[in-house]
């Protein structure tokens, strides 16, 4: 157990050290989300009606959730490269904990997610976002975001191990995540969508998580969103963590 923890930290450190050295990654974590916040706020914002909220208040929880979902790409691509470039073979030939490769990878995502949540919150505050909740609820929201990000890392770890190249990891992830995040309450109220999309959006876990964030940060009526969101996070983790681990075993053992 001690070995698992120390090896996980070593692998996580290794994944994080690369960040400042890969400018394209750093841009993906900083400039890109800021750009999207500004585009949505100032290009679409004026045309979207969000009764009860200013658009910037409505947007920030949604765009942070979307951004965290997309952040998992780094895990998918990174794991895929590790398998195909032989690094996983090296790790498996070492007397280290075998679980640490995946645990370290997903743990380093928590750090990068915290970084992008911070950047987006600061950007949001600059353009007018404000918490309408006490500190406890605000922190609970951040905790939910990081947990959700952690669960989603396992989804992307699975994708990264499933596909044959980093490029296809990218496109599979994109095709899965783009519709899921857009057909949700992240950017517009679901009531404005055509019936079919509306039905999908209402059961979409992204809607539930975004609405939970709004209830924690903006004091929106909670319904069952907050509990629902935590349940979804656990479901995602319960499904994809074992899948990723099983896939890692078969991929690496060939």
């Amino acid at each position: 157990m001690r070995r698992l923890i120390s090896d996980t930290l070593i692998i996580a450190e290794r994944n994080l050290v690369r960040l400042p050295r890969a400018p394209e990654l750093l841009i993906a974590f900083t400039v890109q989300p800021i750009m999207f916040v500004l585009l949505f706020r100032y290009v679409f914002g004026g045309a979207i009606r969000t009764p009860g909220y200013t658009y910037v208040d409505y947007l920030i929880p949604g765009i942070i959730v979307q951004n965290i979902a997309f952040g998992g790409f780094v895990t998918a691509i990174g794991l895929n490269e590790d398998v195909h470039k032989g690094l996983v073979d090296r790790f498996r030939s070492l007397p280290m904990s075998r679980a640490a490769v995946l645990a370290g990878r997903t743990l380093s995502d928590v750090v990068t997610n915290a970084l992008s949540v911070g950047i987006l919150l600061i950007t949001g505050v600059i353009i007018g976002f404000a918490f309408h909740a006490d500190a406890l609820h605000a922190l609970a929201g951040i905790a939910l975001l990081l947990l959700f990000g952690y669960a989603f890392s396992w989804f992307f770890a699975f994708i990264g191990l499933l596909v044959s190249s980093p490029e296809s990891a990218n496109s599979v992830g994109f095709i899965a995540v783009f519709p899921l995040t857009f057909v949700s309450s992240a950017f517009v109220p679901v009531g404005s969508m055509p019936a079919v999309l509306k039905t999908f959006a209402e059961v979409n876990p992204f809607t539930i998580i975004v609405d939970a964030m709004r209830s924690l940060w903006l004091g929106a009526p909670a319904h069952n969103y907050v509990w629902g969101a935590f349940v979804w996070v656990l479901v995602i983790m319960a499904v994809f963590a074992p899948l990723a681990v099983a896939r890692y075993r078969t991929t690496a053992g060939q």
């Binding site: 070593i10 030939s93 070492l94 007397p95 053992g253």
Partner: protein, 328 residues
Amino acid sequence: MSPDDAAIVVRGVTKSYGSVHALAGVDLDVASGGVLALLGPNGAGKTTLVRVLTTLLKPDGGSARVLGCDVVSEAAKLRERIGLAGQYAAVDENLTGLENLTMVGRLYGTPRAPAKARGRELLERFDLVEAAGRPAKTYSGGMRRRLDLAAALVAKPPVLFLDEPTTGLDPRSRLSLWEVIEGLVAEGTTVLLTTQYLDEADRLASTIAVIDHGRVIAEGTSDELKDRVGGERLEVSLDDAAQAQAAVEALAALSDEAPVADGLLVRLSVRERSGAIVEAAHRLREAQVGVDDLVLRRPTLDDVFLALTGHAAEEAAEAEERERERAA
């Protein structure tokens, strides 16, 4: 050799992927302190065997022990005592040379400071001190291989597995890597290496095992193998394929075996190197066979294969490739 002196003992190891028998019952012994080269074409099963012996892959059948540890039931213990340098250099491109070695050391359970010190020591030994602080993605192919080999040596393993250590390297990097490997052997490290090159096996190995279709088809010193292949190869390119039979008859006296005709090409192994070309040219002229070119060369992996299996190494690799694709 009794199994007690052997660092590596392999008995009847099998491994299949679908209908493809990557390993079809391999038996091998490597003496402690010895160097065994597994020689064979792509797809012969060399990498699969290395993966079994380094605990990356569970065999379907048979047994293998390295340093007395069973590769399946005592895998964790074994991993402490072996080093693996792979076919493609398995280093983290985003980490510097020193960070790579430090990380590997820490994953062996060494605290950070001594792991770093060991990393510096290895960088010095492998002539990478100047590149120590640069990300590995800026390294040349030869530098990467050296870093990969250094990573395999972090824990000073008594047994080292090298999977095609010089494939794809330029001749100079190849030579410098050979020298490094020879240095390790001189210090008593047991080495099992795989290669497609006869000259590499020749230079580094005390014993060569030729592997084809997942089986060891010949084993011995390089001289023993070459004796089985025959001597120097003479290749005659004809002007006209219709004269192949005439050429075969004219050249038969130069060789112990019948020359082989293949289109415009006639091949034979000659008994005596000296004067072989002159003699062959003379005989062909007497038989009035038009000759485009005459070449005398040392035996290659292809010749070893041709002599041992009756088919060329390339064909074996292609056939294997096709089977693999079918299986997948």
